[in-house]
């Protein structure tokens, strides 16, 4: 076997450039293997994230030949032979070093999700849920938080100013998972509409296309959420009806009592609080 040529972006917040590395080709390798061999050889300080090396942890996201991929699941032999492979960091997030980006935006938005508020258990103390009902949420819980859907989302990829008010596809599937959770009683629609920017998504499905877990983000999460948010805004009775029909053991009053939206601080709130603290 011959050699492979890798063009890997090296740099820091100040800037950087693609650097060429030529290493021997090895059968059956994935891009991450080659990056590791470059670390063990010519570039011991080449920064990249990885953990499981089996497509389960979502750490090694990068833009390979311009497409967001997991480095650990991209086989070298599926890339065009005789061409250099380019590996760049995800563009939507600030650079830390080389292939490592600052993904804290996603964690900040995750902190703002009002958690599950489970209904009361059955009389025997158990929760009964049918497989078909848990499967809807299970699709979204397959998410490995690689953040590639966030990376390709037009709303934030080239519009930094949208970030404080936009949860993004990763968090929309989390909202939809809770919305479809057989035990949940929280209402997050006002939050989604007013502060999480569900209306900003224009359904280009880029997120769905890059999902390594093949979650139908747009069709099964974002579009239904948009509908529910709109339905709820015009017809709260229809929303309440849907919630109650799913949980026949609860009275309408009980469901309504649990329904008020929980508000968590957004990035703006946090910035405001920090500014106030600085003044004080």
């Amino acid at each position: 076997m011959g050699d492979v040529t890798m063009n890997i972006w090296r740099g820091d917040p100040e800037g950087g450039e693609f650097v060429e590395y030529v290493v021997p080709e090895v059968e059956g390798e994935v891009v991450l293997d080659v990056v590791h061999r470059i670390q063990a050889g010519p570039a011991p300080d080449l920064a990249c994230r990885w953990n499981c090396k089996a497509g389960k942890c979502g750490s090694c996201s990068a833009e390979i030949n311009g497409l967001p991929r997991l480095m650990c699941m991209t086989r070298m032999d599926e890339l065009p032979p005789d061409e250099a492979v380019t590996v760049a960091p995800m563009r939507t997030f600030p650079i830390i070093r080389d292939l490592v980006t600052d993904v804290s935006f996603n964690y900040t938005m995750a902190r703002q999700v009002p958690p599950l508020a489970p209904r009361q258990p059955e009389a025997d103390g158990t929760y009964r849920m049918q497989q078909v009902d848990v499967e809807r949420g299970q699709e979204f819980r397959k998410c490995i938080e690689c953040f590639m859907c966030q990376n390709v989302c037009h709303v934030i990829r080239d519009h930094e100013d949208n970030k404080p008010n936009y949860a993004g596809p990763r968090l929309f599937i989390r909202y939809m998972e809770l919305e479809s959770h057989p035990l949940d009683t929280n209402d997050r629609r006002a939050l989604l509409r007013e502060r999480m920017g569900i209306g900003l998504c224009n359904i280009t499905k880029c997120c769905t296309e890059v999902c390594p877990e093949h979650i139908k983000i747009t069709d099964n999460a974002i579009i239904p959420l948009k509908e529910r948010v709109v339905d709820g805004a015009y017809d709260p009775i229809a929303w309440l009806g849907r919630k109650i029909l799913r949980r026949t053991r609860r009275s309408a009053a009980e469901a309504a009592a649990d329904a008020p939206a929980v508000t968590a601080p957004t990035l703006e709130d946090e910035a405001e609080a920090a500014a106030q603290a600085a003044e004080a």
Partner: protein, 602 residues
């Protein structure tokens, strides 16, 4: 060197490690109203727990009402060849169901029975179908549920921070931890009244391993350096089924769920060879014909389990022996076949991750052809000695849970008992640390000398030029442990290993790195090496002294179990001067009512 500059953070309880055990411990401490922080080496949600596949063992009795904590307790003890800490095994079996149901309240969506309860899957060594699961991605469900619970509880999380050393006060109590932020390389000191080590495994010292880069034994080594007792270090589990090809994925885990769901092992002659390796201890409960084994999946009461579902140590040794005797697969493993036994639809539904993993990494369609598998370093049964009820180590102010702690699994862990271990003892460690923190009011005073020593040691590789590459050293360590302290051990090789480790420790003094401190993997690896070398030495030491074969420790020169060794733990310590010592101590004796469970079963 001048006094290092560093930031400090003070909490009541600090949990190091954010896998299942660390998250559960932090949730408990936070629920007690204590100022609680989690410190982890990777991003939150990426810890090794995420890779657990098959499920979490808990005697819920949803499939087989005959199941209960006593049966689970008995299975766990027998799986560990009776070397387990009986009290830990008892607490684990009793509390696991509550911990699973708690996850359900926090949002976990386990697969269901027809009656809408949590369904349970068969696994090796478990008498009844006992593993709560979500397809074959149970670890992801567990870590995400705990992560979301921890985040909504408002626990402070310090991500991508590597802890280097625990610091102690004049009385020997742990009162601080020093580490660095990986993104910037800046140093940070955490002070707290109590610390929980939930740092997971040490498998990255072997060449073929299912463990991620994080599993460098940090917690076990740091506890030992702080003076804590370690036990059972010689017991390392080699999971029978790791991928063997392509070479770059060698060691990646193939869930035991494949066998639990009907998969069988065959050699190059097409024989289900596990029927030839049924040990006397399990003969009474293991099928001796293929027909009986096949009937068992639908009728556990009137049939005995197939030998493919013997405990992991038995299966791993058997595969090793088949390969050694020339009956292996083309790439040096054996065949794991579910394609000929279950429908493609069933396989894709029950084992979606395995389907994708083989399809994408090996180009193998597991619904149509067999997988090639072989043993891979998977789990450390040994580790930090803890009090069963409080998870306290032998050092004041220091607690440990999960894989870093030892005792529950004895000499061999049953599949599915790890996720439940994390939950049960993660919670208990959080509770133990909270009790300790509440009883100690004084703010800790940090010993600047200890901080300086830790920082100096960490940055030393930058001051050397032209020394050893940390990558080369790691490579040689992995080769040494793989070749000389692997699945089958013998005195001459273990002595060779000690000699080799001595040389590696000398070479570690000469490691040099280039570049800056900000996100520098070469430097990060250099700072992981001291822990890796320490735990490797501890494993090799225990392995040399335990002159018998039991569970995850097989000696070619002492092929059978030894009754006397069956009564002791090997306890290891490192003195303040860095001297290693090892001594046998009698196992805690289980009370008669629990001992009676083993009499009844005979």
């Amino acid at each position: 060197m001048a006094d290092p500059t560093y930031e400090t953070h003070d909490f009541d309880v600090i949990v190091i490690g954010a896998g299942g055990a660390g998250l559960r411990a932090a949730i408990e401490a936070k629920a007690r109203g204590l100022r609680t922080a989690l410190v982890c080496k990777s991003l939150l949600g990426k810890a090794h727990t995420v890779m657990a596949e098959g499920g979490a063992a808990a005697a819920l009795g949803n499939i087989w009402p005959e199941d209960n904590w006593q049966v689970h307790f008995r299975d766990t003890m027998r799986g560990g060849k009776m070397l387990n800490n009986w009290r830990m095994a008892e607490l684990h079996a009793k509390e696991a169901p509550d911990r699973i149901l708690e996850l359900e309240r926090w949002g976990a969506l386990f697969d269901r029975t027809k009656d809408g309860l949590i369904t349970q899957r068969d696994f090796g060594g478990h008498r009844y179908a006992r593993l709560a699961h979500v397809g074959d991605r149970t670890g992801l469900e567990l870590i995400r549920t705990l992560q979301q619970q921890a985040v909504s509880a408002g626990i402070d999380v310090f991500m991508e921070v590597k802890i280097l050393r625990l610091l102690t006060d004049a009385q020997g109590q742990v009162n601080a931890a020093v580490g660095y932020w990986r993104p910037t390389g800046e140093f940070v000191v955490f002070t707290a009244k109590a610390f929980v080590l939930a740092t997971g495994s040490l498998g990255k010292s072997w060449k073929y391993t299912s463990n991620s880069w994080e599993s460098t034994g940090d917690g076990v080594a740091m506890a030992a350096w702080a003076g804590a007792d370690l036990i059972d270090m010689e017991f390392v589990q080699f999971h029978p089924t790791g991928m063997v090809w392509p070479l770059s994925v060698r060691g990646i885990l193939v869930t035991e769920g494949v066998r639990g769901d009907g998969g069988v092992l065959r050699n190059s002659e097409g024989t289900r060879f596990m029927f030839d390796y049924i040990p006397p201890m399990f003969a009474a409960e293991t099928a001796d014909t293929e027909a009986e084994g096949d009937r068992w999946y639908d009728d556990h009461i009137n049939n005995r389990r197939p030998p493919e579902l013997l405990p992991r140590d038995e299966v791993a040794r058997s595969i090793n022996s088949e390969v050694k005797n020339g009956r292996g697969s083309p790439h040096g493993g054996v065949f794991l076949d579910i394609a000929s036994r279950r429908s493609a639809e069933y396989i894709r539904r029950r084992l979606p991750s395995m389907y994708h993993q083989f399809k994408e990494l090996a180009g193998v369609d597991i619904t149509a052809e067999p997988m090639e598998v072989g043993p891979t370093c998977h789990y450390a049964m040994g580790g930090i000695r803890v009090d069963p009820d409080s998870a306290a180590t032998t050092v004041p102010g220091l607690f440990a849970a999960g894989e870093a702690a030892a005792g529950l699994h004895g000499s061999n862990r049953l599949g599915g008992n790890s996720l439940s271990d994390l939950l049960v003892f993660g919670r208990r460690a959080g509770e133990g640390a909270s009790d300790f923190a509440e009883a100690h009011a004084a703010a800790p005073v940090v010993d600047q000398g200890q901080v300086r020593a830790a920082v100096d040691a960490a940055v030393a590789p930058f001051d050397r030029t032209g020394g050893e590459s940390p990558y080369d050293l790691h490579h040689d360590l992995q080769q040494t442990m793989q070749d000389l302290v692997g699945i089958i051990r013998t005195e001459s090789e273990l002595r060779e290993a000690h000699e080799a480790l001595g040389k590696l420790r000398e070479r570690a003094e000469r490691v040099s790195v280039s570049g800056g401190r900000a996100y520098n993997p070469g430097w990060n690896l250099a700072t992981d090496l001291p822990a890796m070398l320490t735990v490797s030495t501890l494993v090799a030491t225990g392995a040399l002294d335990r002159k018998e074969s039991r569970g995850g420790h097989t000696r070619d020169d002492f092929p059978g179990p030894d009754a006397e060794f069956g009564k002791i733990n090997l306890v290891q310590r490192i003195s303040a001067e860095g001297e290693f010592s090892i001594a046998p101590e009698p196992l805690p004796q289980m009370p008669p009512e629990l001992a009676a469970l083993f009499e009844e079963a005979k």
